[in-house]
Amino acid sequence: MFLARRFLTFLVTIWGASVIIFLMLEVLPGDPALTMLGVDAPDSAVEALRRDLGLDRPATERYLSWIGGLFRGELGLSYTYQVPVTELIAQRLEVTLPLALGAMLLATLVSLSLGIFAATNHNKVGDYGVIGFSQLGLAIPDFWFGILLIILFAVILQWTSSGGFPGWDEGFWRCIQALLLPVFTLALSLSAIMTRVTRSSVLEVAREDYVRTARAKGLSRRATLWRHVLRNALIPVLTINGLLFANVLAGTIVIENVFALPGIGKLIFGAITNRDLMVVKNVVLILGAMVMVVNFIVDVLYAVVDPRIRIHT
């Protein structure tokens, strides 16, 4: 029941996003074809592009054919690259998805360990150490940390290359190696935030009455932490981590540029500069959909963790 409702919301949100993206490009002043080609382009070229883009047809028809295309996986041609947008996005996702998910995974693991460690050592040296790390992680800009890592590991130690991506055909481990520094860079500020959320959530739950009840039964501190505190503390952590995924995607734009990775972030950066509207439109929708999928998954997990969401009586 909860899942069905939540799935419906998910579909409606994606649909809403597609309408907004479409309308935004629609209300952009000027002729998209002219914008894409520049004012100096000959009229015949502009006219041809208008036909290619279907701009001679009414807006509703164009919207429907875009959505129809989405379902068939046909998103049109990129003007700058002259390849199908579908192919372009698929290629770039091969870099961006592992980057973003890797950073999420790493940050989640780091923050759970550090956050729980800090909370169980509340107001002791370990706690202060973790708080210090998290302050630092928040204060250091991602791109600067990335450059530091490049200087250290690629230039001085020469353990890895300074950037670029070989492509998955060139071997799994080489790709993982190429993604290592970017993932670390992206995970830094992310784990700093997540650590704080985890720490304060665990501390808050530790003050709950039912934790005292668990101790009154004779459970040790450790057993109480594992059986009664963590599962409840996970609820806000899940929510925040899900919301942070949007930040991670935004972060990939910077990181992919620092490490010269051919990912979605670099694609959209170039597409905006080159006014490749076909690419912009679809990439934005894909990014939005990814955020929504992650938040949908978070809500499902939420229901798994908390029976109050699953069962109403």
């Binding site: 709950e208 009455d209 039912y210 101790r215 009154a216 004779g218 040790s220 069962i311």
Partner: protein, 333 residues
């Protein structure tokens, strides 16, 4: 020998305003199967005293004195030994049934936890025992309800679950800290009757903390009256209710509209408020609210004085208080 003997128990709490002495040299005894009532306005240190007995004081708390359970000083025990006591030999029920159960676990699992911890029961055996306990505390449909989550139960039902949990390992002592204060008036009586019934049946000793003087009068053998972290009066229930030696006890009882009915007797009508523990004045803690206070009350800490055998009160003006009571009666005119 008494089952539980508390000697000169003192608890210092860490607060934002510095160290606060929440319990000040409290002493009392509890016989095997006996019942002790603890009365006092809120903020008097009743719950902190109870938590000290459980060894579950807030972080940073310091204790001194002795808490002897069957001759073992609980204050000298390490954490592991205390874990073996809690839920096993001393169990506790709290004031807030709505928040005292873990929302993400089924109640059967929560009841089975002490069984597993102290009796080594697992799986089907633990479940069967949980169902038996739920049935015993009067939860209808225990065999199905064992799989319910706390949010599917009412406040009264949750308190029954808490009682089942506390009883699971047949403790020697049950501490019930205002077990009905948060409940609907119509449910309060049922829960108290249940506790009394179970205490009678199992022969465990009970420490009942309550605002409700009627409840204390009905169910306990002995009473301690607490104020500002100290015991101000202590004696057998009959003697204490008959005599009301301490002016604070008199104030508390005067606040009751009529004795006999069970409900709605909150201790609110003594003028003034409970003092902040961090800045209690020297002398008698009740001095600034006491109608009988004289100069020496502000400077001298009143010692416990015998009123009747086994019945003491900490007051310098016991004679004046007794005279006032003889004239004014209970204050119900």
């Amino acid at each position: 020998m008494a089952l539980l003997a508390v000697r000169d128990l003192t608890v210092d709490l860490q607060t934002t305003r510095g160290v606060a002495r929440a319990v000040r040299g409290v002493s009392f005894e509890l016989a095997k199967g006996g019942t002790l009532g603890v009365v006092g306005e809120s903020g008097c240190g009743k719950s902190i005293t109870a938590l000290a007995l459980m060894g579950l004081l807030p972080e940073g708390a310091r204790t001194s004195g002795r808490i002897d359970l069957d001759g073992t000083d609980l204050l000298s025990l390490g954490e592991d030994a205390l874990c073996g006591m809690r839920g096993n030999r001393i169990a506790m029920i709290f004031q807030e049934p709505m928040t005292s159960l873990n929302p993400v676990h089924r109640i059967g699992r929560q009841i089975a936890e002490p069984l597993r911890q102290h009796r080594g029961l697992r799986g089907a055996k633990a479940r069967a025992e949980a169902i038996r306990l739920l049935d015993r505390v009067g939860l209808p449909n225990a065999a199905q309800r064992v799989d319910a989550y706390p949010h599917q139960l009412s406040g009264g039902q949750r308190q029954r679950v808490m009682i089942a949990m506390a009883l699971s390992c047949d403790p020697d002592i049950l501490i019930a800290d205002e077990p009905t204060t948060a409940l609907d008036v119509t449910i309060q009586g049922q829960i108290l009757d249940l506790i009394n019934e179970l205490v009678d049946e199992s022969g465990m000793a009970l420490i009942l903390i309550s605002h409700d003087l009627g409840v204390i009068a009905e169910t306990t053998d002995d009473v301690v009256v607490m104020y500002g972290g100290s015991l101000v009066e202590h004696g057998p229930t009959d003697s204490l209710f008959d005599t009301l030696a301490h002016p604070y006890s008199q104030g508390l009882f005067a606040a009751i509209p009529d004795i006999g009915g069970r409900h709605d007797r909150r201790l609110t009508t003594i003028p003034g408020t409970v003092p902040e523990l961090a800045d209690l004045p020297p002398g008698c803690p009740f001095a600034d609210r006491c109608p009988l206070a004289a100069d020496d009350c502000w400077s001298t800490e009143p010692p416990m004085r015998q009123v009747l055998p086994g019945h003491q009160a900490a007051c310098l003006r016991l004679e004046a208080a007794a005279a006032g009571r003889a004239n004014g009666g209970r204050g119900d005119d």
